[in-house]
Symmetry: C2
Subunit: 364 residues, 2 copies
């Protein structure tokens, strides 16, 4: 491996049970290792690292993406995924797609397709959904692997669906413990590669008991992932982010793109140089206060953010409002993947009007 | 009719052939009249006026929405539609939906559903697509009328598809005159009603020869329509907008929401009080320059904007980069619907780096 690279992945913001902690950490480390293992070829890039890492996470039954995804109200798996290149600004996503083993590879095929000029001036799509997305996979050489719909349903997801479907049918909130919205665990990755700079991606099975055809943040441009080059070489910072949480709220906040904008606007002023301040400002103003203002008490979100300053120093940031967020990271300088389940300190007491946003920074 | 209301509709920004001018004007006037005809009941509202007006436009074969939509690459009709209330901030949309007579009514059903609390904390969807959206229609009392897929294909749309499909297969740009992207004609409406303030909606058959499953701006939150109350009663302006043009570019610019933000930010400063300046600023900075910067020479867009100042004065604005944009408007004060095909003056000469944005304002 000769490339100079950084990659980090997440297994979502939510509530990670201690009994699966080991499996989740392994899944995240494995994803980092898969992303590193394909380096060295002339085609290696941040985009491909993100695609490979997320594919690996999608294949793991403990995470809510690809195999093992949350089931829809009628018991099927429907996935959303998106990928973006900071260098080209290209984006591709798929939504509510069934029977595709790795939705992120299909999102990548949509992105790659957008760089092929059409002789008759056809505008390439940003987002393809449902059966149309699956048909597109068949028409592309770099297509995602098609599988039967049933093969993506894990026994664990099916059991969880059975329990909550029953609760939904009785509409009785007291019949079971736990919270429906804890089970989100969207996965994602952010990477930097010397060849193509920043890239970001996200993939999700969506909310448990969602309506079939529901599109979440992982399918929507500017919502679930964002990557950009520095707007100003002297002052700016490259960035890539991947977001997990309650999709509808994240779409309304256009959260990924807002983060990108905050880094652009901040370039050159004192706050803009501090990703901690930028994260706190955007999550507080654009997400927490806006949701609270609409009477929604617990907006849930987790952000994995990679920044790289002009001097080449890369840092990883993780900000979340949920009890836990699971991440892993690795670089060409430190090629042993490190996985952590971040837990928000329990003993913090805040006023009712203060958001419980926990932010941590890691030097890479 | 006792309500105090304003409503305006558009038949899209594009190139409206003179031979269909009469039919298009009639379709737009009819939509205004339909919206007015249902007033007076206790349920009348801006949202319902927008829904009724767009439904009427969808039923007209001369416009690219509902019956008569552009056909996909494989010859089917797949529609996007969205609707938003400025008062509640509620939004509903559908994407790539086939076999639904009025996609805007289905988007309205998604919006209405979002105000029903779930006992188990299920988050209501913002967007439903494809077959899932059609299934949702069946489950809702206020569902859209389901029809056969074939019944939405007009002879004219089929003929246009045949011609362009042939051109696409031969990949020969010289084999026919005309431009594939002229045929857009997304429809939309903006309204104000004393009961619920501003509302906006948009509905589209999308790009001719689009991939099945492609999602355009009319399905995406913040892209194709936006409505909001004044952020500051003293200084601000209520607004609603509906947007037509090249969907992927409009999504990338998140254009409808950007316009809303510009009115919020502008409230109180001199530029923010002038919708002409706001429109020009947003279209120039957020749309034209950004697309040009990516080497795309002719970004196409049309905006219909309704503003209402604190003194109750309502104004209609129309801004577009295409040769024509078709609009109509009516109010309780002036209940005779007026339709216009706006044509950009041909004799304007601008530098290559200047956008050809034509903006006009109409006092209502």
């Amino acid at each position: 491996m000769s490339d100079n690279v950084y990659i980090a992945v997440h297994g979502g913001a939510g509530f990670h049970e201690r009994k699966y902690e080991k499996e989740i950490k392994h899944a995240l480390q494995r994803a980092c290792n898969v992303a590193l293992s394909n380096l060295g070829s002339k085609h290696s890039s941040a985009l491909t690292m993100v695609e490979d890492a997320i594919s690996s996470l999608e294949d793991d039954e403990h995470l809510n993406a690809g195999y093992g995804s949350n089931l829809t109200l009628d018991g099927t798996v429907e996935c959303d995924a998106a990928i973006m290149s900071g260098k080209s600004g290209c984006f591709g996503s798929v939504g509510a797609v069934a029977g595709v083993k790795n939705p992120i590879r299909l999102a990548r095929a949509v992105l790659d397709h957008s760089s092929i000029p059409s002789p008759i001036g056809r505008i390439p799509p940003l987002t393809l959904v449902s059966e149309g997305a699956r048909q597109f996979a068949l028409s592309q050489p770099s297509s995602a692997h098609l599988v039967s719909r049933e093969s993506l349903v894990s026994p664990q997801a099916e059991e969880r669906w059975r329990v909550w479907k029953c609760r939904f049918a009785s509409s009785d909130p007291s019949s079971l413990s736990g919270n429906l919205n804890d089970i989100q665990d969207t996965v994602g990755a952010v990477a930097w590669h010397e060849s193509d700079g920043m890239a970001a991606g996200v993939s999700s099975g969506g909310l448990l008991l969602k309506y079939p055809g529901r599109i979440g943040e992982a399918a929507v441009f500017g919502a679930g992932c964002w990557a950009q080059e520095a707007s100003d070489v002297e002052q700016g910072m490259e960035m890539a982010c991947s977001i997990s949480g309650t999709g509808e709220y994240i779409i309304r906040a256009m959260l990924a793109r807002r983060l990108g904008e905050a880094f652009e606007k901040g370039a050159g002023n004192s706050d803009g140089d501090d990703p901690h301040e930028v994260l706190h400002g955007v999550l507080n103003d654009q997400f927490w206060n806006m949701r609270r203002g609409r009477g929604e008490p617990d907006p849930s979100v987790g952000v994995l953010l990679l920044t790289r300053e002009n001097d080449g120093r890369a840092r990883l940031w993780c900000a979340f409002t949920t009890p836990t967020m699971a991440i892993a990271y690795v670089s060409s300088k430190n090629p042993k993947a490190k996985a952590i389940i971040l837990r928000r300190p329990q003993n913090i007491t805040l006023g009712d009007d203060k958001p419980c946003i926990y932010i941590t920074g890691i030097s890479l």
